[in-house]
Amino acid sequence: MNDNDLNPLVQLRERLAAKPTEVGELPDWLGLAARAAVLGDRASLDDQAPEFFTEFKVDQDIKSWVLDRAKEGVWDFEHAQGEFLAYALIDAQDWHFLTCLEPAPRWLTPLVASIIRGWGASSRGVALDVEAVQIVEAYRDKYRIDEELLLPFVAAPLSQQEEIMFKRLANHLREMRQQRSEEPLVESSQVVRMAADKDLPPQTMRWRSPEMGFYCDADLIHTENRVVLTFMHIDGSHANLLQGLTGKLASFPFDVDERGSVSIGGDVAALPLRVTMNPALEIGLNRWHLIQDPE
């Protein structure tokens, strides 16, 4: 055994050398190629993947093919448990890398990228058990990929028990803050519905959400058929948002710009909004706290 045997990229190259022999093997091969690409070796992804797409006739309708893979992955999130759940999460993370590459692969259209992002984002409500957490941690620790490229459940996997403890603490903090406040509370869905109302003129409303010891303000602007939410810390600095979510995001495409603004399309009214402030903390903003009337 030599040092190369333990080099993750060398191991990946060896596995990528075993080319897919049928279309069913292509998704897993492509995930490995994406993993190798974020580790610095894009050869498989850029040179070989397009050839396989042609060979297996995937390039005739790549969007449908990717959508089927995303549905397969979301199914696993909802049904699998233990180590199978961990493997499903690793699949999603590998595909998510495709959306992080600069430049993006030529075949990765914005629509296909948004499907892949939706796949990763739909893992948000998944309850991990201890077994799944251990495997996801092993994956994260082995490859040591830049944390910014990791989905939250890989960057900081939490078991269901840890999450329950975390949420209890969050609820406790929220109740303490609400007790100190006299302003009325509104549901996040009301906020989003107001912002989505085309009859209202473009406006900015300022809300504050006390949860998990964080405060952030949200500016809501509706432009055409989309809602744009910009989250800021109470000190005026932009919140470091990695993802903005509305319920099952797979059917609600969203974009996050470099400032952390979340742009949501589709029928977003009446959906609970959830926001990730950093990889370690996912915050369910179920109730928003009005601190200032619409200007």
Binding site: M1, N2, D3, D5, L6, Q11, R15, P20, E22, V23, G24, E25, P27, D28, D68, K71, E72, W75, D76, E78, H79, A80, Q81, G82, E83, F84, A86, Y87, I90, D91, I135, A138, Y139, K142
Partner: protein, 190 residues
């Protein structure tokens, strides 16, 4: 027993989960009661009325009922029969070994893996007709194996065709060897 001395042990007797809590947790999550129970009713050897009644019990928060007991035991029986049948036919499964690991990975470079002690032999199986993924494991205590225990039985999406189902099973076995550091003992899946 060291890795070099390990022999293939097939699952031959009816298997069960390690305890009832683990069984019920997997049975509930894996589609029996909580999700898409219709898919399982057709393959679990109990009347569909019992499944429906168990689902009702579960929705009311009652887990300690005869209906639920029958459903989860049916799930266990299905998983057990599938693993044993695949072992008998020597198809659709692999045997992996979990062995003692060094405290740090630098030792791993120089150590001979064949000299490590085997802690567990694990079967990863995939049953094509019912589209089932299964895991069973057998601990090795004082060089003597103890009976296999079921770890899980999972049905992936119905939308997977046969080729994708097989490839997914293979990919997840690969994940097990990579992230759980299992060693392949024999491949009965080819």
């Amino acid at each position: 027993m060291k890795v070099n001395e390990a022999t293939i042990v097939e699952a031959a007797t009816p298997l069960r989960f390690a305890n009832f809590d683990r069984l019920i947790s997997h049975a509930i999550k894996h589609a029996l009661i909580q999700w898409q129970s219709e898919r399982w009713r057709t393959i679990i050897p109990i009347p569909s009325e019992t499944c429906a009644a168990a689902r009702q019990d579960w929705m009311l928060g009652h887990l300690d009922t005869e209906n639920i007991r029958q459903v989860v035991l049916g799930y266990q029986q299905l998983c057990s029969e599938s693993v044993v049948a695949l072992c008998e036919k020597s198809e659709g499964h692999v045997h992996l070994l979990r062995c003692q690991q060094p405290d740090n990975l630098t030792e791993l470079k120089h150590a001979d893996i064949g000299d490590r002690h085997v802690l567990e032999q694990i079967i990863y199986a995939w049953e094509i007709h019912r589209r089932l993924f299964l895991i069973a494991s057998m601990f090795v205590r004082k060089d003597k194996p103890v009976p296999y225990l079921l770890r899980t039985g999972y049905r992936p999406s119905d939308r997977l065709d046969l080729g994708r189902f097989r490839a997914k099973a293979r990919a997840w076995v690969q994940c097990a060897t990579e992230f759980r550091m299992f060693r392949m003992l024999v491949d009965h899946g080819k």
